[in-house]
Amino acid sequence: MSADIQATVERPPVARQGWTRARTIGVILLAIWAVLGLAVLGFMINAWDPDIFTRYAPRYLSGLWVTIQLVAVSVFLGAILSVPVALGRASRNRFIAALAYAYVYFFRGTPLLAQTFLVYYGLGSFRPELQAVGLWTFFREAWYCAVFAFTLNTAAYQAEILRGAIESVGKGQWEAASALGLSRFQTARKIIIPQALIVALRPYGNEIILMIKGSAIVAIITVYDLMGETRRAYARTFDFQTYIWAAIIYLGIVEILRNTIDWIERRITKHLKR
């Protein structure tokens, strides 16, 4: 009897070798990607026009430079502004904490495009008041408005990153440092921040990537960044390759950044690997 049962025991199926269904689907999908890639390549070669290229390549480069400046300036200013916001979020004073929370909630809960419109078009409603305090020349320029809106936006996100990273460092670290007789500032600088930065690296990197992608919307308020130059080139030539060039450049930047962040992370977490 027992031998009988053993004979009918079902074994888990042996992993199939060779040509599986997954491979068929994979090959078909890869073939579709290849066809799409070749179609785009063929289109680019077909549409290649040295005239257009020599006319628009420098403009694309200047647009790229505007994008990089815009992102670099707003991320930098946002980083500075994020420190008081993060401190406010952690504050024991309920009023300050609520204020910081409202700030973060507003800027993370509304679209960047709406915020940019609110600054660029909306502040125009207060022109006499702004002129009176001498700020009108600042808010008249689309570029400054974009930097202003982006800085406020990224500060909200960076404040949350900063707060999360500092909270991720255990309380024991603070206590141990205070037992050693370090001041709070020394503790923050020598013990907490180096550990928090490891945690914060990836979110910070993602935030920069999000800003680069998000910065494309300034084209709508007439800043000629990479996207703005692309739209202008398309409006003049009606040549779709203008958009494909932009796509290649954006993809290139994002991939380079992503790989750099991966590389830095691998290096600074070496001591954590076993």
Binding site: G26, L30, I32, Y121, M227, I244
Partner: protein
Amino acid sequence: MERVWTLLSFGPEGWGDDIAKGVLLTVSLALATLPLGLAIGFFVALGKRSSDKALRLAANIYTTIFRGLPELLTLFLVFYGAQIGLQQLVRLFNPDASIEINAFVAGMVALGAVFSSYASEVFLAAFRAIPQGQYEGGHAIGLSNAQTMRLIILPQLIRLALPGLSNLWLILLKDTALVSVIGLADILRQTGIAARVTKEAFLFFGIACLLYLALAMLSSIALGIIENWTKRHGAQR
């Protein structure tokens, strides 16, 4: 203050009804994109964790492209690119046909592509959190692969993926603002028109921001209810 209430009233002098239509469009676009993005994202995640190299590569190309491109550019690529591509395809059969892409569908496809590439990462992380023993257990009680997926893995997967997906939903809601650029009458476009006509830009764009905030808050409440529902008889771990 009187003037503000007149401007916001529902009626011939107010913009309330126009803005309400915009809210409706924003919400319906986001709701229409969600199932598309979830389905594609799920299958891309399956592709990424496949043992087959070709399938993994195909899935990774997808996420690399749609996570790397700015959402606005994706929208333009779909809106203008699909128009040109389809036009050429149709011209093969009928030389004087002209095609116009529906802006709503273009927005849905572009936002769906972006949503799904991020969702695939969320699903992938959730898959990794489910131990191998769950699959083996399913096998041991005689379930087929599809049954194991449907009855054992999916219920756990949804619970694990929900926080990440909630986040993506809030991002999707904000990304819908971009479709105002291709002419869809969403919140931002309607308030933008009102701002231009009435010259009350700060008021109307401020209202647009508040409406997005309100939608985000409502979503958070709804997502909280869903999250509790998925946990209703989860094992305590």
